[in-house]
């Protein structure tokens, strides 16, 4: 292996360590089982939880595909009333944390909510309405929360090659519908699969939403083992299982692509959109409006209403402090994660063989680990390092020193990186994919090497992908709760922390104001994100 590619391989390894260390801390628990608890779980909860998780994954997976892909296709290829608005507005649910959406939906549509209350007052009965606190209910809400991932990535893929795919199909005798199914869909597969993977990883790692719905998914077993049975080792073992599951999932997707390559030589996206005339156009608009209303407008209105009611107590100067810190942390974290993702993508490019791609894969595992578990995985080694340093350097440190790295912004940012590298990496790596080897070689022939090459060639060409990464990580960090709680420095309370404080005793209405603030802070990035041509 040449020296330079060895260097890149080491870089990738070091970045992967960020995720690997916490994950290994979690995996290490496999060696020390707690038989009584494991037996109990195996007998009474695990089988059902696994089945539940399977249905949740299958349902949300299918749901985000059925919602995201057709909407993306409509918006990318056709013209219908309101298309320009829906183009970005359909991304808005991304600004709302899933647990907030869940709570707000429950507030709206449960037996005691305004919808069923109205039915009872008007018609005297609402018992025929299916309960939202059910498997279909939780699947529906998570679908509404996570479909934007698929929508965004599929839309961008369709926008660049959808029209061309239709034309090739037509020239070979395929109707529009057949062309969509047989040509455009398979060609957009890596992008759709990318969005689906993100959505499924979010689903697997989610705890807030399933807790609000009291739906017993796999994470529920992890939390039960930890908080109710006080066996963190068992919780870690279950989390290990989850990590392995995700790894298998990702590996399988990767393998099934085989030798196929999906780069597009040319782009045929310049042709005008196909007009959807008359009824068809209005049906498309109504469908998009329905999704937007259910996934964002209605729940957001509900939040605003609650926030208005709680305004008196919550509208203090402190709120601005929470907003400021949230924005600042999210911004720094987004920058850091994107930089790491860039380094990782570079490493894979420079050393495409051997271990490097594996390191890159491993580095993105953190996204599927429930935040709280990952937070422990981060905290334990940092605390151990601190203890080691304090014991070793004690003489030089001030009396009573209890922390070196613990409770610093630095550690919090590394923890975010471990969790969200997958998000940043997928956007940057996809953009990197589009830079051909010849372009690089050409630039090198012109005497550009090292950082000058990166500055002159890669950064301009990767701009779209980098911006996408920054925006997605920004939005995710704004919403993040458990890692922030565990690793933040004194006084670094963010909006999510505020929501946690208010909701720990179930006072969701009071938490509405910070929740609205999170959504509002996320709006601009999400709108910018939807304008990004290039992503994944």
């Amino acid at each position: 292996m040449p020296v330079s590619s060895l260097r890149w391989s080491v870089t990738a390894f070091l970045i992967a360590l960020l995720t690997l260390v916490p994950v290994l801390v979690i995996l290490s628990a496999i060696a020390s089982p707690d038989p009584a608890i494991v037996d109990h779980l195996m007998q009474h909860t695990l089988p059902r939880l696994l089945v539940n998780t399977f249905w949740l994954m299958a349902g949300v997976g299918l749901g985000v595909l059925l919602l995201g892909v057709p909407l993306a296709w409509l918006v990318a290829l056709y013209d219908f009333p309101g298309r320009r608005f829906f183009n970005w507005a359909l991304m808005l649910p991304m600004a709302m944390p899933a647990y907030v959406l869940a709570f707000s939906q429950l507030g709206l549509f449960d037996f005691t909510g305004p919808f069923q209350t109205f039915l009872r007052e008007r018609f005297g009965d609402s018992s025929w309405v299916p309960s939202i606190r059910s498997t279909p209910g939780v699947i529906l809400v998570m679908t509404l929360a996570f479909y934007p991932y698929v929508y965004l990535l599929a839309r961008n893929a369709f926008a660049t090659m959808g029209r061309r795919a239709l034309e090739v199909g037509a020239s070979l005798g395929y109707s529009q519908r057949a062309g969509f199914l047989r040509v455009a869909l398979p060609m957009a597969r890596p992008w759709i699969a990318g969005g689906l993977t993100l959505a499924l990883m979010e689903t697997l790692a989610d705890f807030g939403t399933v807790a609000i719905f009291n739906y017993d998914a796999f994470t529920a077993a992890i939390y039960k083992a930890w908080f109710s049975l006080f066996s963190l080792p068992t919780a870690k073992q279950l989390a290990s299982l989850l990590i392995l599951l995700v790894f298998v999932l990702v590996w399988f997707e990767q393998r099934s692509r085989g030798r196929r390559a999906y780069t597009q030589a040319g782009r045929g996206g310049r042709a005008a959109r196909l007009p959807l005339k008359g009824v068809a156009g209005w049906v498309a608009a109504a469908w998009a409006a329905l999704v937007l209303t259910l996934a964002f407008l209605l729940p957001f209105a509900q939040l605003c209403l609650w926030a208005w009611r709680a305004m008196e107590g919550e509208w203090t100067g402190e709120l601005l402090g929470y907003v400021g810190r949230s924005l600042l942390i999210a911004l720094i974290a987004a920058g850091l994660v994107t930089a790491l993702a860039l380094a990782l993508a570079f490493a894979v490019r420079r050393a495409p063989y051997g271990m490097t791609p594996l390191w890159a894969r491993l580095a993105t595992l953190g996204y599927a680990v429930p935040g709280t578990v990952l937070a422990v995985g981060v905290f334990v080694p940092v605390a151990a390092l601190d203890n080691f340093l304090i014991d070793g350097l004690g003489r030089w440190l001030p009396e009573g020193t209890t922390a070196v790295f613990k409770g610093t912004l630095f550690v919090m940012l590394l923890a975010y990186a471990a969790r969200f590298l997958a998000v940043g990496h997928s956007a940057v790596a996809a953009a990197m994919y589009r830079i051909t080897r010849t372009q690089e070689e050409c630039a090198r022939m012109l005497g550009l090497t090292g950082w000058r090459l990166v500055l002159a060639l890669h950064l301009p060409l990767l701009r779209g992908g980098l911006l996408t990464a920054v925006l997605m990580v920004f939005v995710d960090v704004m919403k993040e709760m458990p890692i922030t709680l565990m690793t933040r420095p004194f006084g670094w309370d963010t909006l999510a922390v505020r929501i946690f404080s208010l909701t720990s005793e179930g006072d969701w209405e009071r938490a509405a104001l910070p929740a609205v603030a999170i959504v509002l802070a996320g709006l601009l990035p999400v709108i910018l994100l939807s304008r990004q041509k290039e992503s994944l």
């Binding site: 037996f111 930890w226 109710s228 334990v380 440190l397 001030p398």
Partner: protein, 330 residues
């Protein structure tokens, strides 16, 4: 040689050192319920109390990982089960304090002195006043009677409050009877269990079900917002051992840097002047018998507490969780 020195200086500046008296509290109790107390304490004594908020699980993990280098002096959390667990894992240290012994009844603190209850949280029965007469109600156990079939609402068994309730029941009436009770509850459910008490109380008010079990402060909060809700409070088990109570409380951490300060703070929290602030902020009951509850709370009437030591919530929690899993109480 310059570099390491610089590094050490940097690390020192980074980690900082305390000059004025400082107290670090790891708290799993809602921040807005603790902050006013901390502010009042600072005003009175000049002690700088730093709050670290998180869930109890991560906080305990944090304490364990930090070991002797933990900055925490005090662990403040809700539910005796959590405090018992912290004590069992060696995260707390026993404290002898005549003040605390005097202020806090024996059943609301750790027999070993590692933790102390600071407010009482009663978990009792609520009913829809349009559908149920108080005379029809008596005890938790009675809610398992088939006459309540399709009329009972419960919160999820994942919440520690229900785990503690069942744990205490295990201690009181033994596993066989307890299992029968919980099974009866599950059979009587009107709808899937709820994720929180508020939603469950709303369901009672809306008539989705007729009776349920909840903590009193949720009821207080709801009635304050909307006094016309048709929900009534019923003190359970008054003819028997008394209504189930739990605590929020605190313990001094094993490696507290400021142990004396920590004890002083707990003593202050149990004192007459702080008790009302502590309990009233969340419409809970003071632990200190000399302190009267908030008038809004007092309006619900006096009740007999179950005097079994709340530590039982911890010792039998795992057993309770497994029991609920077995009978399908989700």
């Amino acid at each position: 040689m310059k570099k390491p020195l610089l590094l050490v200086a940097l690390l020192a500046a980074w980690s900082g050192s305390a000059l004025s008296e400082e107290l670090v509290v790891y708290s799993a109790r809602g921040e807005q319920l603790v902050k006013p107390l901390v502010d009042a304490y600072r005003k009175e004594t000049g002690v700088d109390v730093k709050l670290v908020n998180d869930q109890e699980g991560p906080l305990m993990e944090r304490l364990r990982a930090e070991g002797s280098n933990s900055p925490a002096d005090l662990l403040l959390t809700v539910d005796a089960g959590n405090l018992w667990q912290a004590s069992k894992r060696g995260l707390l240290k026993p404290v002898k304090s005549p003040v605390l012994d005097a202020n806090i009844p024996a059943h609301l603190r750790d027999p070993k002195g590692e933790w102390f209850g600071l407010s009482i949280r009663a978990r009792t029965i609520f009913y829809n006043t349009q559908k149920v007469k108080p005379a029809q109600l008596s005890s938790y156990e009675e809610l398992a009677d088939p006459k309540w079939k399709g009329k009972l609402c419960l919160r999820s068994s994942k919440k520690v409050y229900n785990q503690s309730l069942v744990a205490m029941m295990l201690a009181d009436i033994g596993p066989v009877r307890t299992e029968r009770v919980v099974r009866g509850w599950v059979n009587n459910l009107a709808t899937d269990v709820f994720a929180d008490d508020t939603k469950m109380l709303e369901a009672i008010a809306a008539g989705q079900c007729e009776v349920g079990i909840a903590n009193t402060y949720y009821y207080g909060r709801m009635m304050e917002k909307n006094p016309s809700l048709p929900i009534g409070i019923f003190w359970a088990d008054q003819a028997g051992k008394g209504t189930h109570v739990n605590i929020s409380g605190a313990g001094v951490t094993r490696y507290a840097k400021n142990e004396k300060g920590a004890v002083r703070f707990i003593e202050w929290l149990s004192s007459e002047k702080a008790q009302n602030l502590f309990a009233d902020l969340n419409m809970e009951y003071p632990v200190n018998p000399k302190v009267k509850p908030d008038p809004r709370v007092a309006a619900w009437g006096p009740f007999k507490q179950n005097l079994i030591n709340v530590a039982n919530a911890g010792t039998r929690q795992a057993e309770a969780v497994m029991l609920m899993d077995r009978v399908g109480y989700r």
